[in-house]
Symmetry: C2
Subunit: 260 residues, 2 copies
């Protein structure tokens, strides 16, 4: 298949290199269009006020492709609109260094790139490795890349994904034999428990720095969610779509009277 | 009510000033925590790699409040976690200079601030003015601000919004008598039709610039959506929630077999 590969950790990251190599080993044609630097927590940002510069990077056998001075969403947009001669059959985003589950999905550059693809009508996968489950000193993307590389052909053979829906894939950082299996389940609900550290700079000015966000799960314990099953050692697949309408509340709101 | 007000055009913008004044005129206690500069198309970005600086700006009777060197989502997070002494009863974000309908919602800093609030369990409204419907030379936020200022009390009296759901409000830039009414409806589906301009810089390097995105509506014409009804001259209310799971596809994916 003709695949567009991107990520949000940037073209020099280990995760995208592992996925590039695994996809090529599976016989796919892969074009890489990825940010030229790390884009953490950029959410679904697109660059409108600045120009986008594009360089071609060659580092075979590790990776080759276009490095864009922009966000993951920018990469997909510029790839499809300007850089690629033909529309890719599928877009893969990742492998992200860190999980993307629950409400972290909406901050995720990795997922936003896959979302952009669905808006062009291109089936897409976002792939992330949960580094918090890692035991060794260096993240090993081998298992995640091997598994993710089986998905494009599989999705294609099953008739693809619905227009507007992407597949969000999270893999625990465990050795092959330790992964418990593959589960399909819903996105978790998180509540926030952020901590901002208040500090004083050398000129006595106050500044704040976001400390690690703690995840507080809001789902009842009996519900299977991406967050829980990933932590339990499963590869987790969640289909994601972008009609955000709350239909239950919509019906209620229709019964209200408004002062115009 | 005790209201936190933010936006993505920044604390110096006309839209937030109009809403600040209208909320105060309605008797609400308003604390402003807004970006110190315009944050266009930042999506749901949060600042993790840099410190956040905060200044207090006083420009009464126009506006007063905290100016944060960050995104709209940052503003809500730092307000609730560090700046405010008590949790606000409601968060309002806006008035945005430009509509936020359909898939533009996922790029919208205005909506992302309201989303952050829902994750703290605080009811929230995102308010935007459709400047494309404007006839005069300067945007007039008066009608939008007047209407938006009626909503906090109304939502409170109706028992609030479900946890995790925000109300997305779009107002056409028409004079009071010309607005056709208030409608509650679903988010529109857009397809992309972007154009990137390829240019050459003075040093003969190629760069690209995103030209205006054209909206291509993917919904059948008989369906009422936020985009269509706003263009038709209505104020449009859409309840928005963040469980992005595609439940129909989830059931199908459960029937697939995976190669682990």
């Amino acid at each position: 298949m003709n695949i567009l590969l991107t990520n949000d950790d940037g073209i020099y990251a280990d995760g995208i290199a592992a996925l590039y190599q695994a996809l090529r080993a599976s016989g796919h044609d892969v074009v890489v269009v990825a940010p030229n630097s790390q884009q953490s927590a950029v959410g679904h940002a697109i660059t409108v006020s600045d120009p986008l510069r594009v360089d071609y990077i060659e580092m075979e056998p590790r990776i080759s492709g276009y490095a864009v001075q922009g966000t993951p969403a920018d990469c997909v947009k510029i790839a499809v609109n300007a850089l690629l001669e033909q529309k890719p059959e599928m877009v893969l985003s990742g492998i992200n260094h860190g999980a993307n589950t629950g409400h972290h999905i909406i901050y995720s550059g990795t997922v936003s790139a896959a979302t952009e693809a669905t808006m062009f009508g291109i089936p897409s996968l976002a792939v992330s490795l949960d580094l918090s489950s890692m035991s060794g000193p260096k993240s090993d993307f081998t298992e995640a890349a091997r598994f993710a590389a089986t998905l494009p052909e599989m999705v294609k053979q099953r008739g693809g994904l619905p227009v507007g829906t992407l597949l969000n894939v999270n893999v625990p950082a465990l050795a092959a034999g330790q992964i418990k299996g593959v589960k399909v389940c819903k996105q978790a609900r998180f509540r926030h428990a952020d901590i901002y550290e208040k500090r004083i700079d050398p000129r006595n000015r106050v500044y704040y720095w976001l400390n690690d966000e703690e995840v507080v799960v809001a789902d009842p314990p009996e519900i299977d969610t991406d967050y829980r099953l990933l932590k339990a050692g499963y590869i987790v697949l969640t289909p994601i779509q972008y009609d955000l309408t709350d239909y239950e509340m919509l019906t209620q709101l229709n019964g209200w009277t408004y002062d115009l």
